[in-house]
Assembly symmetry: C2
Homo-oligomer: 204 residues x 2
DNA sequence: GACCTTAAAACGAACGTTCCTTCTTGACAA
DNA sequence: TTGTCAAGAAGGAACGTTCGTTTTAAGGTC
């Protein structure tokens, strides 16, 4: 094939990213060899190296894509009907993060996305560039959620004598911690909403 | 039999564990080479391999020690005066986890312990044995904290129509998420307590 | 036939580990 | 107390393997 279509190129790139993601999820970024990726994608080294400069580029691409997906889950849940119960909002973020992704890419195990996110976090400790990308993304998340929390505070649904950003961080911590539990306690369906409801309205 | 004292053996073992921990925190378990460990500890390969069977044993030892430290932070905070405000209890766990450790081993950067914990979580995805150890530890934590939460529920400080275990998981998620933030947002002092207070008593 | 994609062999580098040597230690005889 | 010595502890070069990557050659399309 001399000249292939752009659609074909995109499909190949996606094929590589998907295979690499499965490898990385299963074995971690650094315990996965390029040979593993070649085998999982069904492609040879020449093909993979045509689309990615090297292993580190592959790691970065997979990591950024996973993080972006999580960020969008936060944003879309934050954009919906205002002043819903907060436990509903948080639960929706988690549903997006943990389940919708798995429905979409049918090849992954349940919990695979959570496992990948945990690995992305730990990769930031080694890769300053990736850390900068994640920090920028988290800044955007916090700005948007600050507006959301502010509406709750203004409406008297949350006390206003606490810095908005602190509340945002606490809410984000709830989601991040749930991702950790989903990744580490593989067998258990993490049921956050009811526990969160008990915390948010302790005197029902 | 001419041997060195047990104290000497223990000290050497600790020297290796400390050096390895610093390497692992800085570069991750798998991007750290044994050569790095030799250099950081100031010992030769022969010495290190006398105390540990191989790299994987070293990883396991460092990971289990870090996790055990976190588990003890949960337990000690849970044992103190009952029915304190929940945000105080959570904050104390975090103080133990994030700061006391750093005061103790003066060689580490701030946030180093949080970074290590994140790496331990991600290592469980690759090492089933370590995953089993962590799951057992988390079970113990949840049992103990279930008793704590139950006292709050019985005292009417938390609604009782929610399974105790769900509340425990939500509280643990708060701490775990804060650890994530501490590890990834290096520059920021995560201020969880006030944000948590706003969530716990929204109508102050 | 020209050109681009893919496959696969092959490369140097770096890895974890082993092995042999050297140094150090503590017990014990004198 | 001191000198001797066996054995444990540490050092460091070298090993075979596997890594990520490059190069080379075949295959296919226009």
């Amino acid at each position: 094939m001399a000249r292939v279509s752009q659609a074909h190129l995109d499909a190949r790139r996606r094929q590589i990213l998907d295979g690499a993601r499965r490898c990385f999820t299963r074995n971690g970024f650094h315990a996965t060899s390029m040979q593993d990726v070649f085998q999982e994608t069904g492609l040879s080294s020449g093909a993979v190296y045509r689309y990615f400069r090297g292993k580190n580029d592959l790691i970065t691409a997979v990591a950024e894509e996973a993080f972006e997906r999580m960020r969008l889950a936060f944003e879309s849940a934050g954009r919906e009907a205002p002043l819903r119960p907060l436990d509903d909002v948080i639960d929706e973020v988690l549903s997006h993060v943990l389940e919708e992704h798995e429905r979409e890419s049918g090849t992954d195990r349940p919990g695979a996305f959570a496992e990948l996110i945990v690995q992305v976090w730990s990769e930031t400790l080694r890769d300053g560039q990736l850390a900068a990308t994640l920090n920028a993304g988290y800044d955007r998340m916090r700005v948007m959620w600050a507006e959301l929390v502010r509406t709750y505070q203004d409406a008297g649904r949350l006390r206003a004598d606490v810095p908005t950003d602190h509340v945002v961080r606490a809410l984000m911590a709830l989601v991040q911690g749930s991702i950790v539990q989903r990744a580490v306690f593989k067998d258990v369906e993490v049921e956050l909403r009811s526990g969160l409801r008990a915390l948010l309205s302790p005197h029902a």
